[in-house]
């Protein structure tokens, strides 16, 4: 791998956690066109059917979402207070969908959108064979960005993450230094999101700091929620 040289302050490579995002696992039969259409209507989202790709992020502004974000109420069923006004996603909340398997997707959204997404999706998919599970807090997202990002990942990941094989919009579940991660190419700077289970996150972050020490990796502070 070619070495673009030492990073400077403005061209540096950074690692930052994107904490507390909403993670929702969605499973349905990809041959069930009605189910795919129901998701498209409910969330304005076309699920990526091509393996190891993502749907481009889109604002959560579908009518079903706006309706679900209506008056705050305690959710029945699961009993989670997801509609508390402090937890409702902002209007600009963005939804990101990742292919996990032929019948499984991960949906990422702003913090606090889990209950609303589960409710909207379950209503849209009822009574089809589908599963919607809020996995928020089960995993976190580490964002690695900058010219040395690929070099850092190459220390512990066997995948070809170069721009030809892994362009923005690609994602892959693989091993990073023996930890299971979902790697997603976000943009061409390049920016990668690493979705790791929370129990692996301290290890993955420590490993990235160590691997990045030879590449001038800086830790950045998460944006205030």
């Amino acid at each position: 791998m070619d070495d673009p040289g030492p990073s400077t302050a403005d061209r540096g490579t950074t690692l930052v956690e994107r904490p507390f995002l909403t993670h929702v696992d969605l499973r349905l039969d990809p041959d069930d066109r009605g189910a795919l259409a129901a998701v498209r209507t409910a969330l304005g989202l076309r699920l990526p059917l091509e393996p190891n790709t993502t749907a481009s992020p889109r604002p959560l502004t579908s009518p079903a979402v706006i309706a679900a974000n209506g008056p705050p109420r305690i959710e029945d069923g699961a009993g989670i207070q997801t509609s508390h006004p402090d937890l409702r996603p902002p209007a600009a909340s963005v939804l990101h969908a990742f292919w996990l398997g032929p019948d499984e997707w991960l949906l990422l959204a702003e913090p606090g959108a889990g209950g609303m997404l589960v409710r909207v999706l379950r209503a849209a998919l009822h009574p089809r064979a589908a599963a919607v599970t809020d996995l928020s807090a089960g995993a976190t997202v580490l964002r690695l960005r900058g010219p040395e990002a690929r070099a850092v990942l190459a220390h512990g990941c066997a995948l070809d993450l170069g721009p030809a094989a892994f362009p923005p919009g690609a994602c892959a579940q693989t091993l990073l230094a023996r930890a299971q991660v979902l790697v997603a190419a976000i943009d061409a700077r390049p920016t990668f999101d690493l979705i790791v289970r929370r129990s692996f996150a301290p290890y993955a972050a420590a490993w990235l700091r160590d691997a990045g020490s030879a590449h001038g990796l800086r830790l950045a502070r998460p944006r205030a929620a």
């Binding site: 393996p51 190891n52 996990l100 398997g101 032929p102 499984e104 066997a158 995948l159 892959a172 579940q173 693989t174 091993l175 023996r178 299971q180």
Partner: protein
């Protein structure tokens, strides 16, 4: 390093996979009709052929799907990989 072609994710290193033994084992249609030996054979006995065999693998660290690999156990050459229940 052995590379295994996942039918969905493409070739990946073998560390991402787990092995599941002989493929194409059919559950007996009427288990009550089997004697203990036949049931034990279905449950436990697996061939481990020298040469090409069809075996189950799961992409544990990837898409977590089971699939069938045709592998030469002598040379480790992988001839085919296909999704479950579908003979190539």
């Amino acid at each position: 390093m052995l590379q295994i072609p996942c039918p969905w994710c493409g070739p990946r290193e073998d560390a991402e996979f787990d092995f599941g033994g002989e493929a194409d084992i059919q559950r007996p249609a009427d288990p009550d009709a089997l004697d203990d030996a036949a049931w034990a054979d279905y449950l436990f006995m697996r061939v481990n052929r020298r040469g090409v065999q069809r075996e189950q693998w799961v992409h544990t660290a990837g898409c977590r799907r089971w699939f069938v690999v045709e592998r030469d156990t002598v040379t480790n050459e992988i001839l085919q990989a296909s999704t479950m229940g579908r003979r190539p």
